[in-house]
């Protein structure tokens, strides 16, 4: 083989591989020192808003933005869908160094620690303080989730909760009370056994949650447990994860027993697959975010019931659900005029009429308590009482470090790693305790690396 061919070979493979990792540049200028309350300036005429809402929820975002653009003449917001939460955050990370960040960004709940540590955001608290904006009407659970050491870094936007969805027609068919969904692990197991029937293509499973780390995090909180140390990373920076105890084990054991017994369906990590199986009547119950509610009501050919998130047996009273969803961050690298425009949009989004409409269009509940008095919300809840479940649940949850939720920098990685632990337990490759302890060990190492890389 001649040298020339070797050179061309190297070039060819280089071309093949170099697409894999894009270079990231250094440097980002601080527009203003952190924590300083900015003096008011004229808002920019046009800003970008990156979001991660697709399907009916994406339509609802566009409707909301449209409403804002028409409500006044000074500011035009351009909504840009950037893929899933993970994809959107990855795009933001790569856009930051090149100055391509938007003025306003929707980031999921678990991206909070990273966004704060990035030093790339302006805390909305600065604007709240400056304008004496009243946050006392916001849902306490939501506010508590996004307040880190008493400071609100982002504005809550879409708030969800994990709830139980069940097929009321199937309940009636097997003689279960369609107005009494199961409340505990034992009750879910019993109901699932009764609801499971048929074989082959006609088989219906009683319960079919996807392997979704968020569901595990919820169950840990409901069991009265922390996900990470130092008060879930809220009293001080978290140094390790602590879910590998009896609580975590009970969750996985419940799950595995159901799958092994043939009355829980395992759709894998595919959340859409779990939702589709429920819509198609292949599963009679499952747990997922309230954000799916509107989609289920539209798609299912049966009466969709909603119930409180099932609790582990003997869960203590101080356990409860964590909120989910996402919030809006203002980016520091944009000129202050754009931040002002973003702030105007945030205030519009957080207003009661807009929140009421948002709840109706999506299934997320309103971040504002008074939104439930809006006519559109009243009418809707009267028609579909299922939409009330999430709010009830989140108001019932006692407010403490467990239910405030964890704030750790490597949360996306932690969620994926927990999913792997659930998978290996369900597949019988590891017993639940071993699967959780090896996940915890790995994640504690990752937290350590993260804390070091941020210099804290």
């Amino acid at each position: 083989m001649g040298i020339r061919r070797l050179v061309s070979l190297i070039a060819m493979t280089a071309l093949a591989v170099s697409g894999c990792v894009s270079a990231s540049n250094s440097g980002s200028s601080a527009a203003q020192p952190a924590g300083q309350v900015p003096a008011k300036v004229e808002p920019a005429a046009k800003i970008q808003f990156w979001h991660a809402m697709s399907g009916v929820n994406g339509d609802a975002v566009n409707k909301m933005v449209d409403g804002f653009n028409k409500s006044q003449s000074k500011i035009q917001v351009e909504p840009i869908f950037q893929g899933t939460y993970d994809d959107a955050l990855a795009k933001l990370k790569t856009a930051l160094p090149s100055g391509g960040a938007p003025a306003l960004m929707q980031v999921y709940d678990i991206g909070q620690r990273f966004m704060i540590d990035s030093g790339e955001i302006v805390a909305v608290q600065d604007y709240i303080d400056r304008d004496k904006y009243d946050v006392s009407d916001l849902e306490p659970a939501v506010l508590n989730y996004y307040k880190v050491q008493d400071k609100l870094y982002s504005m809550p936007f879409n708030a969800s909760s994990a709830i139980l969805y069940y097929n009321k027609d199937a309940f009636k068919e097997v003689g279960l009370d369609p107005n009494k969904p199961p409340k505990t692990f034992d009750e879910v197991t019993d109901a699932a056994k009764k609801l499971t029937k048929g074989t082959g293509n006609d088989k219906r499973y009683g319960f079919g949650p996807s392997i979704y780390g968020w569901l595990f995090e919820q169950w840990i909180a409901v069991s009265g447990g922390l996900f990470a140390d130092n008060g879930n990373g809220r009293d001080a920076r978290a140094t390790k994860v602590v879910f590998d105890d009896a609580r975590g084990k009970a969750i996985l054991d419940f799950w595995k027993a159901g799958v092994d017994g043939g009355y829980f369906f395992n759709p894998g990590i595919d959340n859409d697959g779990a939702a589709n199986a429920f819509n198609a009547g292949k599963t009679a119950m499952y747990v997922e975010s309230t954000a799916r509610l509107r989609g289920h009501i539209n798609a299912a050919k049966f009466e969709v019931g909603t119930g409180l998130y099932p609790r582990p047996n003997n869960a203590p009273a101080d356990g409860g659900n964590i909120i989910g969803g996402a919030s809006l961050y203002m980016l520091k690298s944009r000129p202050q005029a754009e931040q002002e425009a973003a702030w105007e949009f945030i205030k519009y989004v957080a207003s009661a009429p807009v929140q009421a409409q948002w709840q109706v269009d999506t299934g997320y509940y309103s971040i504002r308590k008074s939104a439930e008095n809006e006519p559109v919300a009243k009418e809707w809840v009267a028609k579909y009482p299922q939409f009330k479940t999430a709010v009830d649940q989140i108001r019932q949850a006692p407010q403490n470090r467990m239910t405030n939720g964890a704030v750790i920098g490597v949360f996306p990685q932690a969620r994926a790693r927990v999913q792997k632990a659930i998978e290996s337990t369900l597949l019988g490759q590891e017993d639940s305790a071993k699967a959780l302890s090896s996940a915890a060990e790995e994640l504690t190492k990752a937290i350590d690396g993260y804390n070091k890389s941020t210099g804290k």
Partner: protein, 320 residues
């Protein structure tokens, strides 16, 4: 393969430049300089493009692989070869490596074999054969994401057509994507399907380039179907087969879309192929250094494999 001509010219140019400094040669004349300038002018666009999209990112990847980065992706501390050591001792990486090789092993030979059968069938002179050729090669027009989503529906355990068909004959279909023994196979099935159109087109073109007289004289000598296939078709098709072997292997090594959409590396890392692992570490875990080290490993694996293919397999290729 489109990269070969410019780079070949490039190395020719650099050879010319190198000869200029060899002692005993005539010094550069004005004409030489002018032709060098002219050459650079012609090469300019491709040099700029290759630098921007290949050489600079490659150098940057190598550079990053020696560093630890902060969550934004900026290099912070120099780690030397630590990332590579971490890789070599990571069970996750080794599982991923194994998955990558299995993925290539399942997808490439079978993908070429199926395409060969279909191409030979499609090479018949029959009325309306063009319709079949178009149908069989149509997967080339399907993007990897659309193809993967289609297969995601087919594989769906509760609503998928595959398990419905299997179920309707009274058997229980496998858990295509959630069974750790099946997932990599399911990915390979999808990949074979995605590559099929391209493979068929290349092989059909190769088949049509085989002179008809060879078959005629073989027939006169009394050779029958299998013999002509073995002794005429295969040798004369070997350049196309070899080309596919190299290109398909590189394609599968780099396959990302179907992994992302079908399995996301799971269940329990059984499909965490190298490219997906790079994606996870770079864009989810934001450890650019670690991801860059994996990229370099992938680069050398593909380079090495391609060299081996050229050294050993190409000997058996019969160029006309």
């Amino acid at each position: 393969m489109q990269t070969a001509p410019p780079v070949a010219t490039l190395s020719a140019a650099s050879a010319a430049a190198a000869s200029a400094v060899i002692p005993g040669r005539q010094p550069w004349t004005r004409r030489d300089l002018r032709s060098l300038g002219e050459a650079l002018l012609y090469l300019g666009p491709s040099l700029v493009l290759f630098s921007a999209f290949v050489f600079v990112p490659l150098a940057r990847t190598l550079y990053l692989s020696f560093f630890y980065t902060n969550p934004i992706g900026n290099p912070t501390t120099f780690g030397g070869v630590e990332q590579y050591v971490a890789l070599a001792t990571s069970p996750e990486f080794l599982t991923g490596l194994r998955a990558t090789f299995l993925f290539v092993l399942y997808s490439v030979p079978l993908g070429i074999a199926i395409a060969l059968v279909l191409a030979v069938l499609g090479n018949q002179r029959l009325r309306g054969i063009n319709l079949f050729r178009t149908l069989m090669s149509s997967t080339i027009a399907v993007s990897a994401s659309v193809g993967a989503l289609m297969w995601l529906l087919l594989f769906n355990p509760s609503l998928g057509l595959l398990n419905y068909l299997i179920g309707s004959i009274g058997l229980t279909g496998p858990n295509w994507l959630t069974d750790p023994n099946m997932a990599i196979l399911s990915l390979s099935i999808t990949t074979i399907w995605l590559m099929l159109g391209f493979n068929i087109i290349v092989l059909l073109a190769g088949l049509q380039g085989i002179p008809e007289e060879l078959y005629e004289s073989a027939r006169i000598d009394g050779a029958m179907g299998v013999n002509t296939f073995r002794h005429i078709t295969i040798p004369l098709l070997s350049p196309s087969l070899f080309f596919l072997l190299v290109v398909d292997a590189i394609t599968v090594f780099q396959a990302f879309t179907q992994v992302r959409l079908l399995t996301q590396g799971g269940p329990v890392d059984t499909t965490r192929v190298l490219v997906y692992s790079i994606y996870l570490d770079a864009f989810v875990n934001f450890q650019f250094g670690y991801a860059s080290a994996q990229s370099m490993v992938l680069f050398f694996i593909i380079l090495l494999l391609t060299i081996i293919q050229f050294r050993f397999v190409e000997r058996r290729v019969h160029y006309q």
